[in-house]
């Protein structure tokens, strides 16, 4: 907050990160939008291949044009305010997540508790998805909202403790400092459990792949059952944006930030983000769905203890080093 408000107080914590003006947020949002389009194109190709056909690269553009011409569906006694907030704020939340991710040496928002900030934003998705399900005043979409919350109770705590591991090793909650602490050895390599659970969490808060039962066909599309036209386009873009933001945040947290040979830091951040995003998109059709009614036990009896042991190992190593 210090830089934004221009108040006397704290200096930037990590000298290796330069804070750029708020005007650059436009570029950050543009990059995020670019990642959304790229992910949607890749998904189009993969889904075309899954059905046996060639092409698919242009599928997201055709779909966007179709949705923009479609009439808005209205339902009886819908809570339009909450419904629209739920759908539209997914992209905003993703942009706020990206705000704390340093692009090489530049960052927009050098918050000293950036890791917590990301966590707060991903919890906001709980509210937004449920509100989208609630607002339509339709039984199927509300069931979808509850399915998401059921998943949320299972994945959120493991995700939180997975984010704790890099913060302990870097002895900082500042995202730039975490990226700077991985000289030579990426956190993804010696904290594989935390990295895996983090990626699972990214898929979960994007309602993606194994965590898609909230949107599945057996409840007529779930949360997005009544979404149509521009609303549906914005909702889908928001999901891709969350996926992209999760991939971008993994780069400073687990993949060494902008470190890499030859290319400059910002290019490495983008390359790593794109690779991770492609992996997340690809995995969509490769994993079975987690049933919302049984995932809670998986989260609390398998993932949570595994991540806690990981945190313990990281803490012991950190104490041993320090």
């Amino acid at each position: 907050m210090v830089e934004v408000l221009g108040m006397a107080g704290l200096e930037s914590l990590d000298a290796s990160v330069t804070v750029v003006g708020p005007g650059w947020a436009v570029l950050a949002v543009a990059l995020l939008a670019g990642l959304v389009v790229a992910a949607a194109m890749l998904d189009g190709v993969l889904s075309a291949r899954a059905t046996g056909g060639p092409g698919g690269v242009t599928r997201p553009f055709g779909e966007a044009a179709r949705l923009m011409r479609q009439r808005r569906r209205t339902t009886v006694a819908a809570d339009n305010l909450l419904w629209r907030i739920g759908g539209a704020c997914l992209f905003v939340t993703a942009a706020l997540m990206v705000a704390v991710v340093p692009l090489g040496e530049w960052t927009i928002f050098d918050l000293d508790v950036g890791v917590m900030w990301f966590n707060a934003m991903d919890v906001t998705v709980w509210a937004l998805i449920w509100l989208t399900g609630w607002g339509a005043n339709s039984a199927h979409s509300l069931v979808g909202g509850y399915r998401f919350l059921a998943h949320g109770l299972g994945y959120e705590l493991p995700l939180m403790f997975a984010l704790v591991a890099p913060a302990i090793a870097a002895e900082s909650l500042n995202v730039g400092a975490v990226a700077g602490a991985q000289e030579g050895l990426w956190f993804a390599l010696w904290m594989p459990v935390a990295f895996g659970v983090y990626l699972l969490g990214v898929a979960a808060f994007s309602v993606w792949g194994p965590f898609a039962p909230a949107l599945s066909a057996d409840i007529a599309g779930g949360v997005r059952a009544e979404l149509s036209g521009v609303d549906r386009l914005v909702f889908e873009a928001g999901r891709y944006a969350l996926l992209a933001a999760g991939a971008a945040f993994a780069v400073p947290m687990f993949l060494g930030g902008g470190a890499g040979p030859l290319l400059p830091g910002w290019a490495w951040v983008l390359v790593k983000t794109v690779v991770l995003l492609a992996l997340l998109v690809w995995v969509r059709r490769r994993l079975p769905a987690f049933r919302p009614d049984t995932f809670m036990e998986v989260g609390w009896l398998v993932l949570l203890p595994a991540v806690l042991v990981q945190d313990l190992v990281v803490a012991v190593v950190a104490v041993g080093k320090g």
Binding site: M1, V2, L5, G6, M7, G9, L10, E11, L13, D79, L81, L82, L111, D112, V113, M116, W117, N119, A120, V123, T124, W126, A127, W130, L131, W134, G135, Y146, L149, G152, E156, L173, F290, R291, D293, T294, F295, M296, E297, V298, L301, V302
Partner: protein
């Protein structure tokens, strides 16, 4: 810059109070719950203005999560839905209004009349690190006390809320290998 900060701070304060009032004014369970969430977010950002970044972000994180769960409880336990059947869901409304107004006037008078002391000491260079070091150092007893209290709360809450005992789950002689639950688990049963 000072003016912008002031306007932002007061604006957030108005949002926090107005959203708080909306909790008891709107006739939709979801809107009431999320109005409270908005009030908490506004206060969280105000705490960020007061330089306590960790406390502010934790407030936002916890409260948004809690309100997402709260909404489920609202739908579950609000037996009579005021949105479907408009009805008054309050008792002793006038007395409550009077008490609230009197409380505000009393507090406001105190706030404005008391001669507040000068600021003592200066903020630590890294507020978040200072909090962590306080919790892990001189104030560790606080965390050491909160932890068992939280565990006790979890146990007490489950005992109160769960109606099935271990005899229901594992049989009268407690010899059933896998528990007999209405809700299937995800790990091997």
């Amino acid at each position: 810059m000072r003016v912008i900060t002031d306007i932002g701070f007061w604006g957030l304060g108005v949002v926090a109070v107005a959203a708080g009032a909306a909790v008891f004014y709107v006739d939709s369970m979801a809107r009431a719950t999320y109005a409270l969430a908005v009030s908490f977010i506004a206060v969280g950002v105000q705490v960020l203005f007061l330089q306590q970044n960790y406390v502010g972000v934790v407030t936002i994180l916890m409260m948004v999560m809690e309100m997402a769960i709260m909404a489920v409880y609202m739908v579950m336990f609000m037996g009579m839905n005021p949105a479907l059947v408009p009805m008054s869901m309050v008792h002793s409304n006038k007395a409550a209004l009077g008490v609230a107004a009197a409380t505000f006037l009393f507090l406001a008078a105190g706030i404005l009349l008391v001669d507040w002391p000068e600021r003592t000491g200066s903020p630590p260079p890294d507020v978040t690190r200072a909090l962590g070091e306080a919790l892990m150092g001189p104030k560790m007893l606080v965390m050491a006390v909160i932890s068992p209290v939280m565990v006790a709360t979890i146990v007490a809450a489950v005992v109160l809320a769960a109606h099935r005992t271990r005899y229901d789950r594992f049989g009268d002689d407690l010899k059933r290998h896998t528990p007999d639950d209405a809700q299937p688990g995800g790990v091997g049963r």
